[in-house]
Point group: C2
Chain length 220, copies 2
C-alpha cells in the first residue's frame, strides 16, 4: 500500500499567486522578455527559495522580489536596461551574514551610486539573528532580507563580484573584477564578534566605494 492519503505537505498550491506575480512582472518587462520567460523565472525562483526557506508565509513576497531582481539583472546583461552605475555582487556560503552585511553597508555608503546584490552558494533558511541585531545597531534594517541562491543572471550582470569563503562556486566570466575577501564567518558567533566582523566589512566597503567611484581616498 502506498501512503499518499496521509501526506501532510507544508506548502499550499501557490499556482494562482505565482501567476499573478508573473502577470505583474510580464507587464514590467514587456518588450524585453516574453511572458513565458517571465513565468519560468517566477516559478523557478519560487522553487529555489522554497527549497531552503524556513518561513513559507513570506515566499510569495520574496519570490516576486527575487524574480524581479533576476529579470532586471538579465535585462541589464542583455543591454535591454541601461546600467549607469557599477553593479556589485557579494557571494558567501549562506547569504545569511557576511554578504548580507556587505550589501547593506555598500547600499548605505553608495547612496544609489552603485547597484548592489548578494547571494549564497548554499543559502540558509533565514538571516543570522545576531547579524540582524548588529546591523540594526547602526541603523540598517535587514529584517525583510532573505537568503537567495547564487544564479547565473546576477553574476552576468555584475561588474564586480566579491566572494567570501565560497570562491569555487562562483562562475567566472571574462571582463569582470573578482575579489575574495577573507572574513570570519559570523555563524554561531557572539554578538560582540559579529559587531567586529561588521566593522571590518564596513572598512572594506568604504575602500571599495572610493575605488569604484574613482574618488580620492578619504582623509582619516
Amino acid at each position: 500500500m502506498t501512503d499518499h492519503h496521509d501526506i501532510k505537505l507544508g506548502l499550499q498550491d501557490s499556482t494562482e499567486v505565482l501567476h499573478r506575480i508573473s502577470s505583474r512582472l510580464s507587464a514590467r518587462y514587456s518588450g524585453i522578455f516574453a511572458a513565458e520567460t517571465v513565468e519560468r523565472y517566477v516559478f523557478e525562483s519560487y522553487t529555489a527559495l522554497a527549497r531552503t526557506a524556513k518561513v513559507t508565509a513570506y515566499l510569495p513576497a520574496t519570490t516576486e522580489h527575487f524574480a524581479n531582481d533576476r529579470l532586471h539583472a538579465l535585462a541589464t546583461s542583455k543591454g535591454a536596461i541601461a546600467s549607469e552605475v557599477p553593479e556589485v555582487l557579494f557571494v558567501c556560503v549562506q547569504n545569511a551574514g557576511r554578504s548580507q552585511m556587505a550589501a547593506a553597508l555598500l547600499n548605505a555608503e553608495a547612496q544609489g551610486r552603485i547597484h548592489v546584490r548578494s547571494a549564497g552558494s548554499m543559502p540558509a533558511s533565514a538571516l543570522d539573528p545576531a547579524v540582524v541585531t548588529a546591523m540594526a545597531e547602526i541603523g540598517l534594517d535587514l529584517s525583510a532580507d532573505y537568503p537567495k541562491p547564487l544564479t547565473d543572471d546576477v553574476v552576468r550582470a555584475s561588474d564586480v563580484v566579491i566572494t567570501m569563503g565560497c570562491g569555487d562556486s562562483c562562475p567566472i566570466y571574462p571582463g569582470k573584477r573578482y575579489e575574495d575577501w577573507e572574513l570570519t564567518d559570523p555563524a554561531d558567533q557572539s554578538l560582540e564578534t559579529v559587531r567586529s566582523i561588521r566593522d571590518e566589512i564596513h572598512d572594506r566597503i568604504r575602500i571599495l566605494v572610493t575605488s569604484l567611484l574613482n574618488k580620492e581616498e578619504p582623509t582619516p
Copy 2:
C-alpha cells in the same frame, strides 16, 4: 587596498564549453525552445550545480545532462514532447542517498515503462559512498550520478512526486499524486544499515510499479 590580485578561484571560465552545450541542446530542442531559452537553462543549470559540486571536473558533463533533463521536462509539461509513460519524481534533502536509490531501483524495475527523475532540496556535493556501494552490490551503477537541486520544471512534468523527508520544500500542483515516504536517512550510516534502507525502498518500488502500471499485485 583590495586584494583582487590574490584571488585563486577554483572554477575556470567555462563560457566556451557552455556555449557548445547550448548549441547542441538548441539543435535538439529546435522548434520547441528558442536558442536563448536553452542557453539560459544551460548557464543556470551550471551555476546551480557548481554551487554544491565537489568535483568540478565533471561539471560540463553533468550540466549538459541536467539541462537536457530539465528542458525535456519542460517540453513534456508544455505538451511539446509526448509522454507515453508515467513520470515519477523522487525528492529527498540531499539527493545523495534515498532519492537516488529509489530512482535507480524504479528505473531497473520499470524497464522503460516509467520515466524517473530525482532531486534534492539541499543537494549534497556528491552521492553517499555507502549508497553507491550498496547499489553496486545489486548490480546498479550510480557512480556517474550526481546530486541535483529541485527545480520547478521537473515537478511540473511529473505525474507522481514522492518526497522523503523534505515535504515542505516541494511545490504543490493540482492533479498530481503526492506521496511522502518515511525512510531512515542513509547519511553517515553503516553499510549494513544502508543495505536495509535500500531493501525497504526496493519493496516500496515494486508496489509503486504495480500501482502505476495497473497490474495485479505479484504473488509472493
